[in-house]
């Protein structure tokens, strides 16, 4: 499939403004996009999500905009803000991110992306405050697009908490791609909290890649609350013994929103551990997809992996598709996964009602309790409270019943 002329034009204009050093890399990336285009549903990984409509879109690159970031600011964090992919602060030199799940899409991102967060901690460093990377999108006119690439490198034994908060305002339709490359050296520890609250007119593709060296630890909490179409591809490679990944994910699409999470954890070395807990809520006419894939490479003995997915459908029109995959090429492993779909516990509803809580509130509270398995993992109280408030509101429960009481 060929990219529409609008991408060509946007690229030509964009390239002309970029430093000469970047031009070859960007052109190469764009050529890949030109050649491979957008993924279509004939590929297994894109079975439930169709981006082909983007090809025919008459897009334009967002130009510098400003937005009031205060509603999304969080207490006690050192903060950097990007609006439509651009930052007021100076950014480091751009490198095309490598290794994409889809060549065409990766090419598009690599061609257009601006440098986002670039965190590099030296050995043993540990910043006293969480780092908040606030990525806002606005669109005054329709069909704007922007692209942003983040990077986190933690050297030996360093530790950080990073909050990646993505939020949208304004009415215009928009198309955003974002990437995050994570490298954790021996013994490094990263807690990453990502909360996506784009507008209902936003199509968004995110790719996170992480490589974990010996005894490195990644704790990822990922929450999807918004977007018309949000697709997240995570590739986490446990490259050396003792590496551990822990993922807590919540998806709660509403309206006609479509959220697709594809998470692959690769156990490439012995004695590596992964834990995944996902909670899904299907509101209104939303559609959610979760594909959790655990791959155990030959020789990755003593791999210990567990995946738990539980979903609640809160509307007759909602749809949830879940696929917890295991691909195992070693025998001395402990791998398990479970997926459940169900309703709220009738006994618990009765218990609440018997104490005088009306049924709707009881259901709302229990749904929040269900989601709390993930919410409780958000290691920043202010952010946790805000996410809980959004959920309670969606559930029609007074926000004064906040879970953080």
């Amino acid at each position: 499939m060929n990219a529409a002329a609008s991408y060509e034009q946007a690229f030509a204009r964009f390239l002309a403004q970029r430093p000469a050093a970047e031009q070859a890399l960007r052109s190469e990336a764009f050529a890949r996009f030109r050649e491979q285009g957008f993924p279509d549903r004939s590929t297994e990984a894109w079975h439930y999500t169709d981006l082909t409509a983007l090809a025919g879109l008459d897009v334009q690159l967002s130009t510098g905009a400003s937005a009031d970031a205060t509603p999304w600011a969080l207490e006690g964090c050192s903060t950097q803000v990007w609006v439509n992919g651009e930052s007021a602060q100076p950014t480091s030199s751009y490198q095309v991110p490598a290794g994409y799940v889809h060549g065409g899409l990766g090419g598009l991102h690599g061609a257009f992306a601006r440098q986002g967060l670039d965190l590099h901690l030296a050995a043993g460093e540990s910043p006293p405050q969480p780092l908040l990377a606030l990525c806002l999108s606005t669109a005054d006119s329709a069909r704007e697009m922007h692209h942003l690439a983040h990077r986190i490198r933690l050297d030996r034994g360093s530790r950080a908490i990073v909050i990646l908060r993505e939020a949208g305002l304004g009415e215009g339709t928009r198309w955003i791609t974002r990437s995050l490359e994570i490298d954790l050296a021996d013994g490094a520890e990263l807690t990453l909290l990502r909360v996506q609250e784009e507008t209902a007119a936003t199509t968004q593709w995110f790719q996170g890649t992480a490589r974990l060296q010996r005894d490195a630890r990644l704790h990822l909490v990922t929450v999807d609350l918004g977007g018309a179409l949000a697709r997240n591809d995570w590739r986490i490679r446990l490259a050396a013994p003792g590496a551990q990944a822990q993922i807590h994910g919540l998806f709660a699409p509403t309206g006609r929103s479509h959220v697709d999470n594809q998470i692959e954890i690769e156990h490439a070395a012995p004695h590596t551990t992964s834990r995944e807990v996902f909670r899904g809520l299907g509101f209104e006419r939303s559609r959610a997809v979760l594909n959790g894939r655990v791959v155990v490479r030959p020789g990755a003995a003593k791999t210990d992996s567990e995946q738990r997915i539980a979903s609640l459908m809160l509307s007759k029109q909602a749809e949830i598709n879940a696929k917890p995959e295991l691909e195992i090429y070693a025998d001395d492993v402990k791998c398990a996964h479970g997926a459940t779909f169900g309703q709220l516990d009738r006994n618990a509803i009765f218990y609440l009602r018997a104490r005088g809580v009306p049924e709707a509130t009881a259901r709302g509270l229990l749904t929040c309790s269900f989601a709390n398995e993930v919410l409780g993992q958000i290691a920043h109280e202010g952010l946790r409270t805000q996410v809980a408030r959004v959920l309670l509101q969606r559930l029609g429960v007074g926000a004064d019943l906040g879970l953080s009481a």
Binding site: L352, A354, R355, G356, V357, P358, S369, L403, A405
Partner: protein, 247 residues
């Protein structure tokens, strides 16, 4: 206060209550005893409005209202409290959130003023102390990871906080060690007043050593088969339930 006439109830195809009659006046404490499977828990759950049970005949009047016509939350607001035999765990919803949601929802239904967070905290605090519980439990999930005894104590705490008119306590004594039993009994006794009535549903006489009942009823095969004073409980303790069936 409570007037149960000819109550019949079933779960699924199984009829459990088969014409039960019981009258309870304000200020009284009655105990219902009986062998396993007699219908004790069914009676408690039917009074609280559990949907799994279908009332096929009879009536229940509570303070002049038709209790059976009310939703469970409306019964709670009217003053009926069921202490669960198996309290439910609700991870992620803290006891504090739970109690305040229940307390304010009941007040709202009764048209009373709701309490704000600070006022409510004051309301709850000394009751937690009264039950000799760790105030830290308020921020833990409802019954989450509680031992059997802690769960039962939490039921009584909820009762102290919500101040109901009719307390139906289903096997609240089971699973308690002697110290916990005394605390639970003290909680129940603290609630005794001329305006309130209590129905203790129990298999053993143990709790009745600490909470003196006015009347004791024996429930067997869905009916009250005998009623008497406190001495009936001791008689049951000595002879078991078998002699009832033989009689």
């Amino acid at each position: 206060m409570l007037d149960i006439q000819n109550l019949h109830a079933r779960i699924g195809d199984k009829t459990i209550l088969k014409g039960l009659n019981l009258q309870l006046r304000a200020g009284e404490v009655h105990a219902i005893m009986g062998p396993n499977g007699a219908g004790k828990s069914t009676l408690s759950k039917v009074l609280a409005g559990a949907e799994d049970y279908t009332v096929t005949d009879g009536s229940v009047q509570f303070a002049g209202q038709d209790l059976l016509a009310l939703e469970p939350e409306a019964r709670a607001a009217a003053g009926v409290f069921l202490g669960f035999q198996y309290p439910v765990e609700i991870p992620g919803v803290s006891n504090m959130v739970f109690l305040r949601a229940a307390f304010n929802a009941q007040r709202k239904q009764r048209g009373e003023k709701e309490l704000d967070a600070a006022e409510f905290l004051a309301w709850v605090r000394h009751r937690v102390k009264q039950m000799k519980m760790d105030p830290a439990m308020l921020s833990r999930g409802v019954n989450e990871g509680f031992s059997g005894g802690e769960k039962k104590r939490n039921e009584i705490l909820q009762m102290l906080v919500l101040e109901p008119k009719l307390m139906v306590l289903d096997e609240t004594d089971s699973g308690l060690d002697i110290d916990a039993l005394k605390i639970v009994a003290d909680g129940i006794n603290a609630m005794r007043s001329p305006e309130r009535a209590t129905l203790l549903v129990t298999h053993y006489q143990r709790l009745l050593d600490y909470v003196q009942p006015d009347r004791v009823h024996v429930l067997a095969d869905g009916r009250i088969v005998r009623s008497g004073g406190p001495e009936l409980a001791r008689e049951l303790e000595e002879k078991g339930y078998a002699w009832l069936r033989a009689a």
